[in-house]
């Protein structure tokens, strides 16, 4: 690893004699020295295992490294020696391919020293020197083997004879695309048959008028497309767009025709594959028409995410504790509770007994927080190799190497990386907290390091210094879970092929029972206390009245103590291991495998306890103090404060119980309360845009019917009370519009469709407009009460102490 607390020695000169490193210039050397590391290996020490994530490759400086493959077939279970890498040779080149996993197991034969070099960085360093690592003979061979493996995995290719296969392999040309690149557009002449080596491709068609995009199908690894137009040489009828970084193979039209001529059955089998895929995707959508739409909108994100932060909007009380906790742990919040929503079913089992998660449709918010991609574009784009990944797949930023250039933050499609002010550790000198290349740059410009590099990229690192992420552990309602969509989202798993079994989450199971018991007890004591007090049977200073006073005092202390677990995370955030600082800049060192069970909230039990105690308090107060009428001003103050705090708290608990699911029904995207301030104007703008160029009928309908409906006072409250989702209201409105159309339009479907083009978009906006005040109200209700609830507690505690000391210590006086 890079030991940043002492100046690293330059790498030994003989290393650069290795053929692969020979072309590097001085700055290239410095870059890989900063981001890579020299590793001394003992005899037999394993370096990596097969199928591990591969982000870096190795150059042997001295000694020998053995590469083993696990045997198949007859040799199953045996380790077969594949190759021995000697001084100057490289191994682990598969890292230069996207999505790569280790092919072999590597271990040192004797004492050895190897240089570990991040692959993306090395590609940059070579490119700067005017070279291309992809041109190397090893790499060409590697790629041909990958292509062959890939082709063999495709069903119809397996049926080809060996010469045909070689033909296909020769005809295949590799292409690389980035997210959003168009592979071909509608109307283009057919340029060949495409085969996806790695990545996700969307076949789409742009609807002619509104610029909206209709998705025909999603294709991923091993899928073929572009064959339909190839034979009759028609222009493309669909467009193909790369959803993420893609590696595709193109088989030229002539090569394809040659193959088709020699294998008459080829076309039928191709068609069958296509149809199978189409029917499979249609079936998944058919099953859950409302939920899959969201998942489909950015399937690439689902495919990439290894640890996607999701917030269940039906239970989330919008308290923001997750983001706050993040800020407490990391100094800046790496989580902004805003983003797309996904409606899906989960494969996560909620408790060992019941599989309730499988049935319910979850309304999940995907906030801005790193999802630890399988193929992190930020890592590939980082010019200094500051972004690394450990063996478990956690992507992290090494601040010492970060120049604050923002390349990763721009590259991340979901805004999960943000630029923040750099905070230097106070213990060490600034110079020791930066990599040598950065120190040299600052020296060149005669600036201090703080001035030169004021910003640093920040993103979620899953609290890698701790046992589990703070956001998940501090959620009072257990709404936050980190999921792997491909494994945990039912629809994504069905579409992309599930990886692994569904996981388990241990929720607090006694919650509802606890609340029910305390509510019943609370109600009983309330009635009893009130009745007995009215009858004069209870006295504050004696017997049961006094006892209930003492219990109430203890409850009050317990209730206030809720702040301790909630606000003092340091008390329960357990460091993963003691040597935290060494951990911070660790590069791809194996960590323990992630637990099969998802981490659970630590604050949840305290939250339940708090509410339970709160429910008991009214009865205790009534039993002790009755209905007031005290001449003692301290007791009266205490009573006023307690009742006020209690009433606010009970109101808050009620909003927590009733509002979240209703609010979730009215939200299209997760938004923070401050986002809603300018939303009305934004929606009106959008409506105006939707209306431009639409028929007069649509304009009239919008002006006379939709807008008054949307802006009706208290209309939002009505939506909130009814609790139906926006789709329901949209359908309802559409039905009303259709019913109110003039006779001639109602009969002619064609004319109606023409006249009403664009009305659905206007309805969408208007429904949102009507829901907006309700969203603001619900947010205000959910969040507004907590501040007075907290502010009163200080005075309450003082009044409690004074009251108790007056009635005990000073009673005689």
């Amino acid at each position: 690893m890079v030991d940043l607390h002492s100046a690293p020695a330059a790498w030994p000169e003989p290393l650069y004699a290795a053929p692969v490193l020979r072309g590097l210039d001085a700055s290239g050397r410095r870059t890989i020295e900063d981001a890579g590391r020299l590793r001394a290996l003992r005899a037999g020490q394993p370096l990596y295992g097969a199928a591990e994530l591969a982000d870096s490759f190795f150059v042997v400086e001295r000694g020998e490294v053995e590469l083993h493959a696990s045997g198949r077939g007859l040799d199953a279970g045996q380790q077969l020696l594949v190759r021995v890498a000697r001084a100057g040779e490289t191994f682990g080149e598969e890292a230069t391919l996207p999505h790569a996993r280790r092919l072999y197991t590597a271990s040192a034969r004797g004492e050895a020293q190897v240089a570990e070099i991040p692959a993306a960085l090395f590609r940059r360093a070579l490119g700067r020197s005017g070279l291309d690592e992809r041109d190397g003979p090893e790499h060409r061979l590697l790629r041909r083997r990958f292509t062959a493996d890939l082709l063999r995995s495709v069903a119809f290719v397996r049926a080809l004879a060996e010469p045909d296969f070689e033909l296909l392999l020769d005809a295949a040309v590799e292409h690389e695309f980035d997210r959003g690149d168009r592979i071909f557009a509608v109307g283009d002449p057919p340029d060949g048959l495409w085969l996806i080596a790695q990545g996700l491709v969307q076949l789409q068609r742009e609807t002619d008028d509104s610029g909206k995009i209709q998705v025909g199908a999603y294709l991923s690894d091993g899928d073929l497309f572009g064959d339909a137009e190839l034979l009759d040489n028609r222009p493309r009828t669909l467009a193909a767009v790369a959803m993420g970084a893609c590696r595709l193979l193109r088989i030229s039209p002539s090569g394809f025709r040659q193959l088709a001529d020699r294998n008459p059955g080829l076309l039928t089998s191709l068609r069958r594959v296509t149809e199978q895929r189409a029917s499979m995707q249609a079936a998944v959508i058919e099953q859950a028409p409302n939920s899959t739409r969201h998942v489909f909108a950015d399937l690439y994100r689902m495919q990439m995410a290894r640890s996607l932060l999701t917030i269940d909007q039906d239970t989330c009380v919008r308290c923001g504790q997750c983001a706050w906790a993040c800020e407490q742990v990391h100094g800046v919040a790496r989580l902004v509770r805003r983003g797309d929503k996904v409606v899906t079913r989960l494969r996560v089992l909620e408790s060992p007994k019941r599989a309730s998660g499988a049935g319910r449709i979850h309304d999940l918010l995907l906030p801005n927080s790193c999802q630890h991609c399988q193929n992190p574009v930020c890592m590939i784009d980082c010019p200094t190799g500051a972004i690394g990944r450990d063996a478990a797949g956690e992507v992290f930023i090494r601040e010492a190497l970060c120049t604050g250039c923002g390349n990763c933050a721009k590259a991340c499609p979901w805004e999960n990386i943000r630029m923040a002010p750099r905070k230097l550790a106070s213990g060490a000198a600034a110079k020791d907290q930066f990599a040598p290349a950065l120190v040299a740059a600052a020296d060149r410009k005669h600036m201090t390091l703080e001035q030169m590099f004021p910003a640093v990229a920040t993103k979620c690192d899953l609290c890698r210094d701790y046992e589990a992420p703070a956001c998940v552990q501090s959620c009072p309602t257990e709404s936050l879970i980190r999921l792997e969509p491909q494994r945990d989202f039912a629809e994504v798993a069905a579409l992309l092929g599930a990886s692994g079994a569904g996981r388990r989450i241990d929720r607090v199971r006694v919650g509802p029972a606890l609340l029910a018991i305390s509510a019943t007890l609370g109600l009983a004591t309330t009635i009893a206390g009130a009745g007995l007090h009215r009858a004069g049977a209870l006295q504050a200073g004696f017997g049961w009245g006094l006892a209930s006073g003492w219990i109430a005092a203890l409850s009050l202390v317990g209730l206030v103590a809720h702040a301790v677990p909630k606000r003092m995370l340091k008390l329960w955030m357990r460091p993963r291991d003691r040597n935290r600082h060494q951990n911070r800049d660790r590069l791809a060192e194996p960590t323990e495998t992630p637990a099969a069970n998802l981490p659970r909230s630590r604050v949840r039990p305290f939250y339940l306890l708090h509410i339970g105690l709160g429910l008991l308090l009214p009865g205790l107060l009534l039993a002790h103090a009755g209905f007031g009428g005290h001449a003692d001003p301290v007791a009266a103050s205490l009573l006023v404060l307690t009742w006020a705090t209690l009433a606010i708290g009970l109101f808050g608990a009620a909003t927590h119980a009733l509002l979240p699911s209703r609010l979730a029904a009215l939200e299209r995207r997760g938004a923070l309360p401050e986002d809603l301030v300018g939303e009305r104007e934004h929606l009106l703008d959008r409506l105006q845009r939707e209306l431009s160029g639409k028929s007069n009928l649509v304009k009239r309908l919008t002006a006379d019917f939709l807008l008054p409906w949307a802006l009706a006072p208290l209309g939002g409250v009505e939506l909130l009370i009814r609790g139906r989702d926006l789709h329901h209201h949209q359908d309802h409105l559409r039905a009303r519009i259709d019913a109110a159309l003039p006779e001639e339009l109602r009969e002619q479907a064609q004319a109606r469709a023409t006249a009403l083009v664009g009305i659905d978009d206007c309805i969408r906006v208007c429904v949102e407009l009507r829901a907006l005040p309700a969203r603001r109200l619900a947010n205000a209700l959910l969040r507004g009460w907590l501040m007075p609830h907290v502010l009163l507690t200080g005075a309450l505690l003082v009044a409690l102490v004074v009251h108790i000391s007056l009635v005990t210590l000073f009673a005689a006086a």
């Binding site: 002449p189 209709q214 902004v336 923002g406 390349n407 499609p413 990386i417 630029m419 200080g794």
Partner: protein
């Protein structure tokens, strides 16, 4: 994929989120800032309550109110525990009301109904003598004035008739201290209607006095008058009756414990006030810290955070006089594309992971790229002097043409955002100059209602100037001429915005709608369709703007904000009448040309964007003619897309060609391979515009050479 599949899986509404050109900054959401100060507020509230208690204690008022239980009881040395105590054996709390009988034995009522109730347990001593409330009476002490007491208040009746009567009594100096308890109307009101004359106890009240605290004067409850006659006590009854008839002195001023409600209110009010103070102080402090922190990473603060920085804005207001060009140190450049993304004109590019200056001709000279370079590899150097730039001073006033100010594109600084800044800045600079100006019809005439003009008008309105905007077409004409759906501000925002004009990354329609709404709601004085032709100077410090219609506007200052777009450059060949309506100089909506055959002349960004837009329409046949051999300027994105379209055959690109003649329905071209004829429906001439040099000359503005 089978194109026969008619049903799409889903419809996408938002475009694919992809790489951005600016890095998102740290955001402190309300989630994070919301709990700020709660702890401090709560502590301050606690301190506030303690403070209130301390102040109250300091005034000497007791915290615990000693509940009175009557003068006689107090003199007898009773305490709370006398009545409130538990049974010694069982530990059960005894009824305090029953404790009366421990001292006052045999005090049964002599009235039969009351006696029955006592037996039934529904009437207790405390029913008539509620011990802690209004336990009033009159105390007679031998040799002293009688005392009227009630609820802890004692009044000596020293100078009244009663005192004299007591003193006159034969036993005056020698009788046992006696208290006569007074019962009040409220105690009987549970059963009796004292106010009614038919009530059995109507005669017990004092005349018509039947308020709750008025005394009852029948003293024969426990002892009939007959049996008490001639006793010492009976004679004291009479005096007590007289004493009871006296009004009690007002309680205020006498009551040693102030009003509890008032005290509680005061304490809690003070506590809450302190809590609020603690909360706001802490929040203000945290906000300030946040601002400072963010300012550190934003070398040029964005308008979203902390407001614009005036000094930085001023530095950017002035166009550079010399050509500036970035140079990149390739040995240190890390290839992070920060500069590439910062450049609004795609001057820079990344090749082999190193930034290179790809299109030096397009460099605007703003130093955005230099500011963004993380390790100082890119430096801006000044080159040769730029031609054709108006010479301006710090107030954007043209040198050599007093009273004429310039803003917007014509100053040589492009970008909408610059125009907005300059418009506002120029008006801010003009306002103080107007104080010494002669009083004429207008203080300021603004020529042109583009971004600079509208921004200037907003500022003028804010400063209360008499101004008018003259626009030859209609407001925001430059925005109107953008193609439909064009992303107007598709570039990183690095510059602060001065002034109120709204600007953010948005589509043409959004921007236009918003600006027009601002114009309407602010009621800006914009005269449309007025073409300015020149200026006259009738007197010193007075300017008169001349228009094509002959109307004249007298004013003190003129702000020229008509931009460089001016008039589009036209083809130098005659256009037949039949084609006049089919030759366009801008493309507003490509959809209306669906299915047509169009020719585009030119290969700048405007021409390329038009070609790309038109090629996207169904069945539109697009031909593009350009006299050069390759695209010399223009955004990389446009160049790449056009090349792709040309490769795919969607656009016919005829380079190194000139238009020979335009005939109805077709065009004759001369290309490198000889003469060509193309059948066309419409022609788009997009070969730039004629700079409004003539108009500048008419205003006497000189340009550098």
């Amino acid at each position: 994929m089978a194109s026969s599949d008619p049903r799409p899986l889903i419809e996408l509404r938002a475009p694919l989120a992809a790489r951005r050109r600016s890095a998102p900054k740290l955001e402190r959401s309300s989630d994070v800032t919301r709990p700020r100060g709660w702890l401090y507020g709560s502590l301050a509230g606690a301190l506030g309550l303690l403070l209130a208690l301390a102040i109250d204690l300091g005034t000497g008022a007791p915290l615990v109110r000693q509940r009175s239980f009557g003068r006689a009881h107090a003199q007898a040395g009773l305490t709370c525990a006398t009545c409130h105590h538990a049974d010694e054996q069982s530990g059960v709390q005894l009824d305090p009301a029953a404790a009366c009988r421990e001292c006052h034995a045999n005090k049964r009522s002599v009235r039969t109904p009351h006696a029955k109730q006592i037996v039934a347990g529904t009437l207790q001593c405390t029913t008539c003598h509620p011990i802690h409330q209004a336990m009033g009476g009159v105390g007679f002490v031998s040799g002293a004035a009688p005392v009227r007491f009630r609820d802890g208040v004692e009044v000596e009746l020293g100078s009244t008739d009663i005192a004299i009567a007591v003193a006159d009594r034969p036993t005056a100096g020698n009788f046992a201290p006696t208290s006569v308890a007074l019962v009040e109307v409220a105690a009987c009101a549970n059963c009796h209607r004292v106010d009614r004359d038919d009530d059995p106890m109507a005669h017990c009240r004092f005349g018509d006095r039947h308020g709750p605290s008025d005394p009852i004067v029948c003293f024969d409850e426990h002892q009939t008058i007959a049996s008490a006659a001639a006793t010492e006590r009976a004679s004291l009854w009479e005096l007590a009756r007289e004493a009871a008839a006296l009004e009690l002195p007002a309680a205020s001023g006498l009551d040693p414990t102030p009003d509890p409600v008032g005290r509680v209110g005061l304490w809690l009010g003070l506590s809450l006030g302190c809590a609020g103070l603690g909360l706001t102080t802490r929040r203000a402090w945290a906000r300030r810290r946040d601002r400072l922190e963010l300012a550190a990473i934003e070398r040029k603060p964005d308008e979203r955070e902390g407001g614009p920085s005036k000094a930085d804005a001023a530095a950017l207001l002035h166009p550079a006089e010399r050509r500036r060009l970035p140079t990149v140190d390739t040995t240190t450049c890390i290839g992070c594309s920060a500069c590439v993304d910062a450049c609004p004109y795609d001057v820079l590019d990344i090749r082999n992971y190193v930034a290179v200056v790809a299109r030096p001709a397009d460099c605007c000279g703003l130093t955005l790229c230099e500011q963004r370079c993380p390790n100082g590899s890119l430096v801006i150097h000044e080159g040769e002097r730029l031609p054709d730039l108006p010479r301006l001073d710090d107030r954007l006033e043209a040198q050599g043409a007093p009273g004429i100010h310039l803003a917007g594109d014509i100053t040589g600084l492009p970008l909408i955002r610059n125009a907005i800044n300059q418009g506002a800045h120029a008006v801010q600079a003009i306002a103080p100059l107007l104080r010494s100006a002669p009083r004429v019809e207008h203080e300021l005439v603004i020529v042109g209602a583009g971004p600079a003009g509208i921004s200037a008008a907003l500022e003028a309105k804010r400063l209360g100037l008499r101004y008018v905007v003259l626009e030859q077409a209609s407001a925001a004409e430059s925005i109107r001429s953008f193609p439909r759906g064009k992303l107007v501000f598709d570039q990183p925002l690095g510059m602060p915005v001065v002034g109120d004009l709204w600007l953010r990354e948005s589509t043409k329609e959004e921007l236009l709608g918003k600006w027009l709404r601002i114009i309407r709601s602010q009621a800006l004085a914009i005269r449309e369709g007025v073409r300015v032709t020149g200026i006259e100077r009738p007197a010193a410090g007075v300017l008169r703007v001349v228009t094509a219609s002959g109307e004249r506007f007298t004013c003190a200052r003129v702000l020229l904000a008509f931009g460089r777009r001016g008039t589009p450059r036209k083809l130098e060949i005659p256009i037949p009448d039949a084609m006049l309506d089919h030759v366009h100089y801008s493309l507003a909506d490509a959809r209306s040309f669906a299915g047509r055959r169009v020719l585009i002349v030119g290969l700048g960004d405007v021409a390329m964007e038009a070609a790309i837009g038109l090629a996207g329409q169904v069945d539109t046949k697009v031909t593009l003619s350009y006299r050069g051999n390759e695209a010399r300027r223009g955004k990389r994105r446009n160049v790449d897309e056009l090349a792709r379209l040309a490769r795919k055959g969607r656009v016919e690109l005829i380079l190194a060609s000139t238009i020979e003649a335009i005939e109805p329905g077709r065009v004759r071209l001369r290309g490198p391979a000889g003469a060509l004829v193309r059948e066309i429906d419409s022609i788009f001439v997009m070969i730039g515009s004629v700079p409004p040099k003539g108009l500048l000359d008419a205003f006497g503005v000189t340009t550098s050479q």
